[in-house]
Amino acid sequence: MLYILSHELKYYFKNSHELLYIYGFYLLIMLIVPMGLQEQLNLLPELAPAIIWIAIMASIGLGAASLFQRDAESGVMELYQQIPMGLGQVVLGKWLAFYLATAMPIILFMPAIIMLFGLPVSHILHYAIGAATGTLAISILASLIAVITIGLERARAVSLLMLLPLAVPVMIFGSEYLRRTEALWQPQLLFMLAFSLFLLPILCLAGASCIRASN
C-alpha cells in the first residue's frame, strides 16, 4: 500500500496541473461569492461556513473524477489486478494520496480565507480542523463514486451529480461545526469522523469489485 501511496504522491508532484485545477476551482468559488454580495458584505461571516463547504464539495468532486479513470484508460488498472497485493490496498493507497494532496493545501489556505471573510483570526484552528475532517469524509465519498463510475463515459459530470446530494449530510454537520466556534470538540466533528470510518472499508471492498467488473 505504501508503494502505491508514494507512487501516487510522486504522480501529483510531477503532474501538478491536476491539483492546480482543484485548488484554483476552490479559491475561485471563495473569491467570486463576495463579489456577488456587493453591498451586503456584512453577511459574509455568516455565509462563510456554507460557502467553504460548497467550494470543498465542488473542487474535490471534480478532482476525484479522474482518480481511477486515468489508470483504467492507460491499462495500469489491468496490471494492478495481476500483482499479489489486493486491489483494496491499491484503492486505499490511491485515495490516501489524493486526500493528502488535496486536503493539505485547502487547510493551508485557511488563514487567507478567514481574513477574506472577515472572521476572527482566533477561529483559524477551528476552521482548519473542520475543513480537514470534512475533506476526509468528502474525499472518501468522491473516491467511491469515482470507482463506481469507472469505465463510464463522461464520468466527470455524472460523478459530480452523484456526489453533491450524497455529501449533504457532511455539509449540514460540517457547516454547523464551523458555526459553533466555542469549543474544538463538538458532536458534529464526531459525526464526520464516524461517516469517514464507515465509508472507508466500503470504498476498499466495493472499489475492488467495481474495478474487476469494469474490465
Binding site: Y11, Q81, Q82
Partner: protein
Amino acid sequence: MKSNSLELLNLQVARDGQSLIHGLTYRLNGGDLVLVQGKNGSGKSTLLKTIAGLVPPAGGEILQNGTTLTNYSQPSPLFFGHKRGLNLGMSVADNVRLWARVTDNDELYNAALHYFDLDGLEDVPLHTLSAGWQQRVALTRLITMPAHVWLLDEPTANLDHDGMQLLHNLIQTRVEQNGIILMTSHAEIQGEKVKIINISELMEEAEVVH
C-alpha cells in the same frame, strides 16, 4: 521452475455478450510458445484477457497446474495488452520501479533497465520518448514481474530491429526456462517449437461439424 501447465477445457470466450470462441480445448506445458492467430475481431485479445482472469470465461474452465485459474490465483499470469500500462506524465524510472516494488522484486529493477538499453534515461519523462522506446519501457515488466505464464498481445508493436531482437531473446530464454507463452503478433516469430492456434479456422471447422 517447477512443473508448469495450462489447460483450456471447453473454453468459451465472449465479449460484450457476443460469443467469439467456443469449445476450445488445448493443453500447454512448460516450454511451449503458442502463437494465437485469427482474423481481426476473432477474439485473440479477448482470449488472452480471459486466460489472464481479466474477463470471466463465458463457459468451460482454465486450469493452471491442475487447479482452476481465477483472478485471485497466484502466481497470476502476466498479461501484456494493447493498453501499455504506462504513465506518460512520469519518468522512465517511476514507470519501471513501481512494478518491481509491488511484486517485491526491487533487485530486478536495474537488470530490467539495462536489458532494454534504458540506462541513462531513468529521469526522462515518458511522454518525450518515441513510441518504440515507450514500448521498451512497458516490456521491462516481463523482467520485473516474473510469471509462469506470459500472455503477450502484440508485444512487437512499434519496436525497431534491435528492440525486436531483445524481445525475441527474452522469449526464447523464457521458453528454455520452462515458461509458457501465448502471444499474438503480426511480426515473424523465430523458433523451432512455435505452435499455432488459429481461432478463425477452428471456429469455421466447428461450424462445419454442426
